[in-house]
Amino acid sequence: MSSSMSPVLGSPVPTTRFGTLTTYQPLVFTRPILGFEAFTQYSLLPDLSGFPEESPLVWLQSLQSPGLAFVLTQPHLFHMPYELDVPDDCLLALELEPKDVTPDDLQVYTLVTIPDANLALATTNLLAPIIIAPAKGTAVQWVLNNPNYPTKALLVAQTQSS
């Protein structure tokens, strides 16, 4: 994680899972998480459930609604082949200059759904990733034009079959 993502002191934000946040790196969604258009400000927080081992998951905590949070992952951590061409429109939405962008300027996450808190059933949405420009503090949910990427790809099955 680049130094631009290190938390900074902000106004205290109450959350139901992580107590009151006082240092955090705010992310502003310039293209909303569909269905959550009213909530545009979030922060990435580590998942400590596997402590001391590193978790492949991170939390995307709303800074506007204490109970609203999403779980994200990076598909390669589950050995899922995942490549995407980030179009210029997406880079512009992230307030980046397309001709100057390198892959290091972007972080790509996907949303994880965990039915009944059962990790064996966990799926991730490869069709509509969360793309972040850490240095800008901007993020988007971007809908890909790729019929090969489902909205419900099994996470655990992928690790067993790959």
Binding site: R31, F36, L68, L111, A128, T159, Q160
Partner: protein, 78 residues
């Protein structure tokens, strides 16, 4: 809802910036062209709903995740 009848090749303009063109009509399939500024998101309705529903299922899961550590790199057998 505003209902407009358009012939092949005719357009609908929304504000100054969005133009919708009827490109083709065949066997109940209508091909529509959308010209819109880059900051306007255009989705097929069913895709929008699928992703919105997936997002709603993903939102606000359990209070604390079950123990979930990075999966072990699978052993590749030659």
């Amino acid at each position: 809802m505003l209902v407009l009848s358009r012939k092949l090749g005719q357009k609908i303009r929304i504000n100054d910036t969005i133009v919708i063109t009827i490109l083709d009509v065949q066997n109940g399939l209508v091909k529509v062209g959308v010209d819109a500024p880059r900051d306007i998101a255009v989705y097929r309705e069913e895709l929008y709903k699928e992703i919105r529903d997936a997002n709603q299922k993903a939102a606000s899961p359990v209070q604390e995740l079950p123990r979930f550590v990075k999966p072990v790199t699978p052993v590749v057998t030659e």
